[in-house]
Amino acid sequence: MFKFFVIPSHDRRLIPEGRLSGPMPWVIAIMIFLTVLATAAGLAMTHAIGDVSDELSSRATVQIIEANPQTRSSQAEAAAKRLRAMPLIKEVRVLPPEEIQALIEPWLGTQDLEDDIPLPALIDVKMVRAATDAEYQSLRSALQSVAPGARIEPSSGYIAPVFSLVRSFQWIAFGLVALLALATGAAVIISARSALNTHSETIAVVHLLGGTDQQISRLFQRRIALDALLGGLLGLIGGAVIIWLISGQLSALGSGLVQSVGLDWWSWLIIAVIPILGMFLAMVTAKLTVIGALKKIL
C-alpha cells in the first residue's frame, strides 16, 4: 500500500501537483471534519442508548398505592419478600420515604409532604435479565395476593420516548455521514474532471505514446489520494479537538443519559479510520472517473 504513494519524481513532474495549493485538500478537510463530528455524534448516541438500555431493560419499579401508611408499609415489605423469593429477581430494594421525598422534591418543594399527599411505596427491582411481557404478567400475579395495590412498571418504559428521539438523532447522524460520503465523492469527481481538463494535452500525448488507461489513471489516483489523505488528517484533527471539548463539557453535566454520551476506544478507532476510508473513497472515485473519461477517447 505504501509503495503506491512513492511517486517517482518523473511522474510527479508529468502531472504537476500542488499540495494544499488547490481547493481539493481543503474541501476534503471540511468534509472529513463534518464526517468525524457526525460519526462521533452517531457513535456517542449508540453508546448512550446501549449503556442506559442495558441498565434499564433489566430494572423495574413496583409502586404500592395505598392510602393507609401502615398497610402500605406492610404490603411493601410483603411484596419485597415475595419478589426476593423469585428466581428472576436479582436484587430488591425498598426505597426509604426520605429517598422518595428527595425524588419528588424538585417538583413539589421541600415541605413535609407525607401528611398532605399519600406517596406510594416504591420498590426498586433488578432482574437477572430483561423480562418478557409474560414474565411481567406473572410478577403482577404474584404480587396481587400480598399487595393488591401494587403496580409494576418496567423502567425502560419511562425513558422510551427519549430513546426514540435519541435513535432518530442517531439515524440522522449516520444519514449525514452517508450524505457527506456522497458529497466527498462528488467533490472528487469534479476535481478529477478538472485535473483531466487541465492536463488533457499531456494525457493525449501519453495515450498516443502507448500509455494505458491504468497508467494514466494511476497518476491521478495517487495525486487525489494524497490530497484526500492530507485533507482528511486536517479534518480529523479539527474534528477530534471539537469532540474532546464537547466530551469535557458533557462530563461536567454529570447526569444520567447525558453522562453516558461518551466515546469508548473502538469509537475513537472508527473515527481515526475515517480519513483512510475517505482516501480510499477518493481513490476509487478518481479511478472510475478517469477511466470513464479515457474510454471516451480511442
Partner: protein
Amino acid sequence: MDEIVRFENVGLRYGAGVETLADLNFTLYPGSFYFLTGASGAGKTSLLKLLYLSQRPSRGVIRLFGEDAVTMPRERLPGFRRRIGVVFQDFRLVPHLSAFDNIALPLRVAGVREKDLETPVAEMLDWVGLGDRASARPATLSGGEQQRVAIARAVIGRPEILVADEPTGNVDPEMAVRLLQLFEALNTLGTTIVVATHDIHLLSKIPGAQMMRLEKGMLADPTGSLRHPPRPAEQTQ
C-alpha cells in the same frame, strides 16, 4: 517482403459530414520510406491519425503489423501504439517537462527502469544535437530544437513505423534537410518512415523514397504509378 500496413477501401468521416478520406487502398512495407503529399486540407493529417491509431476509420479495413486494427479491442491499442513513433505537426511536447523527460516519456510509458533509460536518452539528445539542452523546457527551445526533441521522442523507443506530420514545417531549409537526414539514418536501421509534407522539394532529398499523393481525401496521381507504392523489389526492376 511482408507488409507492415495495408489499407483496404478505407474511408473516414467526421460526424455526419462528407468523407474526409475515401477509398484508400495502399500497402506499406517494412524498411521503406514514404512521402505523403497533398495540398492543405487534402487529408494528410487524417490519414496519419489512422496510421498511428488515434482514429478508427468509418469504413474499410486497416491491417497493422498483420492484425486488423479496426476491430482490435481498445485494450490492445497501447501495445501497438508503442511500435509506432509519431512526430506531431505541432510537436505536442509536454510543456512542464525538460527535453530529457520529454524524450524519456515513451520509455517510461513502456516501463523501462530509470537506470536503463539515462544512457539511451542522453545518446538521443546528442544524436539530435541537443546534448547541452537536456534540462531545457520546450518554451526555452527554438522551433527547430523543439522539432528535434519531438523527433527524438518519436524514435527513442526504436519504433517499427515512424509517422511524421509536416516535420519540416517550422524549420529553415537547412534544418529541414538535417531532419530528413535523421529520418534517413533511422530508415537505414529498418524503420518504416511515413512523412507527410506539402513541400514537394523535400521529395528529391531522399532518392529511395516513394510517394503517396492525396487529393480531396483520395489517393491520386496523374500517372497512377504512385497511387499504390510499388514493392521495393518491383521498384528495382
